[in-house]
């Protein structure tokens, strides 16, 4: 049994990392009162940017490309919603569609319609000296790609920043009472724009993780709804960074269970395992919504 725990934990962390990155970015966005459904597009743009960057400049180039891809989607969202005042939900959906089309078109145009398996360099695991030798969990938690450690640190750092700094307070104030925040001299549109850009960049980083730390290649639509699941995780985590990190771990564990069940030869149809993350999202949202309280201005026109 102990033998099964370490691979299970490792799989949990691997699946949870991109979800946590995307969801942490969306926490910032939603705490200012906006909802970016285009997060799915940011993840996909990040994955494509990672491929393009990595073929030019290795793993570092890949992460730069991923952040750029996500930033681009964030910038488009900010422009449409904050400058043109277009509807948030429709803009987000359209940006996701735009990314599906644009990455598919660019991929086929640049790398051939057949989609022959293209290899991007990947960042291998880096064992944290000392911590990796903790029994049972050490290998699983501390022999991971560097981006995973970045995520470990990002969640508490964001939690501290939001709770303890002036800028974090301004961010939360905008989500609750944008008019009062504006009256207090806070640039509501400015803070929202920065939050959307950072949210897009983290979504892109999540997509980059898929390519550079996991798959080692790009596949059309490889985000496969992770951006949408991250949106649900924000609700589950009650719009708090540490809650969101925990939510991502729960999702990672649920996905890791499918490997465990399959390895045990459980005779259920495999589609149940594939559908599990989406079903889990629905069940968890139904359970969580009653008790969670969203930022007061969430989803209202800016």
């Amino acid at each position: 049994m102990i033998d099964a725990i370490a691979p299970f934990l490792a799989a949990t962390i691997r699946t949870a990392t991109p979800l946590a990155l995307a969801a942490l970015g969306e926490v910032l966005v939603e705490r200012t009162g906006l909802i970016n459904i285009g997060l799915e597009g940011a993840v996909l743009a990040g994955a494509f940017g990672a491929l393009a960057g990595a073929t030019a400049g290795g793993v570092a180039g890949g992460y730069a490309g991923a952040v750029f891809g996500g930033l681009l989607i964030g910038a488009l969202f900010a422009f449409c919603v904050l400058v043109l005042r277009a509807d948030q939900i429709i803009t987000g959906m359209a940006l996701t569609l735009l990314t599906v089309g644009a990455t598919g078109t660019l991929y086929r145009a640049l790398y051939g319609a057949s989609g022959a398996a293209l290899h991007a360099p990947t960042s291998g695991p880096w064992a944290v000296p000392g911590l990796v030798s903790i029994p049972v969990i050490g290998q699983a938690l501390f022999d991971q790609p560097v981006i995973t450690y970045v995520t470990y640190l990002l969640a508490p750092a964001l939690a501290w920043w939001m709770a303890r700094t002036h800028a974090g307070l301004a961010l939360r104030a905008i989500g609750e009472r944008p008019d009062a925040a504006a009256a207090a001299g806070i640039s509501v549109a400015g803070v929202r724009a920065i939050a959307v850009l950072v949210g897009g960049a983290l979504g892109g980083l999540a997509g980059g993780t898929l390519v550079l730390a996991q798959a080692g290649t790009f596949v059309e639509n490889m985000s496969a709804g992770r951006g949408f699941i991250a949106l649900a995780i924000v609700v589950l985590g009650r719009w708090r960074p540490l809650g969101v990190a925990l939510g991502a771990l729960v999702f990672g564990a649920a996905s890791a269970l499918q490997f465990a069940f399959q390895a045990m030869g459980w005779g259920a149809p495999y589609q149940i395992f594939l559908a599990a993350p989406y079903l889990l999202t629905l069940a968890a949202l139904a359970g969580a919504m009653g008790r969670a309280r969203a930022p007061a201005s969430l989803g209202k026109p800016p």
């Binding site: 089309g101 709804g225 949106l231 589609q271 149940i272």
Partner: protein
């Protein structure tokens, strides 16, 4: 025959819109380094340039787009963000297949029953999201997207499990008997009677929205739920749930018609994303079912032409998704700017009147 100036101007706007779309496509093709003339020629011949492509490619695709586009229009008008037409279409296809394969009788009654089963399955699939929204406050944007993925895997399971064809060799259902097919329209290639069903239903939906009390309630709730509730007589939850399930039924019917008129069996890839294209169809139509008839033709022609561009000029067919997204963004941005201009005018006027 008198033609109102409104009709002339909207025809001009439509023509300008189509020209603008072709212009954007040409620009993107040029930027991508493709042979623009050859690609546009393929777009034309593959969509409306021949009788065969017009009927068998464009009009056949217009049927599901018309119904799912109408589904989105009904939901969005009621303030319900149903992104789940794709999953509801799949549920409808599965429901219709199950009934069509097990019917002891054949002919018109069986056909009608299979279509009704598709609509019911679509409504039920939307109903899950409606219940989650009304009872648990779950955002339908997220729940319907999740249900799209679940529907895809459910169909994948069905065509490899309970509904798989008898030899168990292929991931598809058994073929539906000829007697339960929607009839082909004579002289029109693969075009089938489903287009008549679709046009009649979409026109009826538009009439209900414009001329009945239910339609008025639906739009009142969509415009301002709080005002609709406080005006009395309107049960907001009832109206939104009803709109949600009607929307699901329309999308489910689209799936049933695909199965009974085009594929004659249930497949995993029953829909190439009709439920998502439907969002662009509905928004470009200003969420008006009657205009959905026209915009569904436009998008059907685009998608049919995109297939031809890929075959004949090597242009990735995913380019259509880019065009659709740009159109959606253009429409919502234009609407937002128009609304803002009006509100700026009224905001500016009001205090002056008060001061005078």
């Amino acid at each position: 025959m008198r033609v109102s100036s409104g009709a002339v101007s909207s025809a001009l706007v439509a023509l300008g819109g189509v020209l603008a779309i072709i212009g954007v496509i040409a620009l993107l093709l040029f930027a991508g380094g493709y042979d623009v003339a050859r690609a546009l020629d393929a777009l034309w011949t593959g969509s409306v340039g021949s009788w065969y492509s017009l009927t068998s490619a464009t009009l056949v695709r217009a049927v599901p787009l018309m119904l799912t586009g109408c589904a989105i229009a009904v939901a969005f008008r009621a303030g319900v963000w149903n992104i789940g037409a794709e999953g509801q279409l799949l549920a409808g296809g599965a429901g219709a297949t199950a009934i069509a394969l097990t019917m002891p009788t054949a002919g018109i009654p069986a056909l009608v029953l299979a279509l009704a089963a598709g609509a019911a399955a679509g409504a039920a699939w939307a109903g899950i999201a409606a219940v989650l929204r009304e009872r648990f406050g779950v955002l339908e944007v997220i729940s319907t997207i999740m249900l799209n993925f679940v529907a895809l895997y459910a169909v994948s399971f069905l065509v490899r499990g309970p509904l798989q064809e008898p030899t168990h060799a292929y991931p598809q259902s058994a073929s539906i008997a000829d007697a339960v097919h929607l009839a082909r329209i004579p002289g029109a290639g693969r075009l089938h009677a489903g287009i008549i069903v679709a046009i009649v239903i979409v026109l009826a939906a538009g009439w209900v929205m414009r001329h009945t009390a239910s339609g008025f309630r639906l739009m009142a709730v969509g415009e301002n739920p709080a005002a609709a509730a406080s005006a009395g007589m309107i049960d907001v939850r009832r109206v939104t749930s009803l709109a949600f399930m009607t929307s699901g039924a329309l999308a489910g019917l689209a799936g049933a018609i695909e199965v009974l008129g085009v594929t004659f069996a249930l497949y995993e890839d029953l829909s190439p994303g009709y439920g998502y294209t439907a969002i662009a169809v509905a928004l470009l139509a200003g969420l008006d079912p009657w205009r959905v008839v026209l915009t569904s033709l436009l998008f059907a022609a685009l998608e049919a032409g995109a297939g031809a561009m890929q075959r004949d000029a090597g242009v990735p067919s995913t380019l259509v998704a880019v065009i659709e997204a740009l159109l959606i963004l253009g429409v919502v941005a234009a609407q937002a700017i128009r609304v803002r201009r009006v509100s700026v005018l009224t905001d500016g006027d009001a205090p002056q009147e008060g001061l005078a």
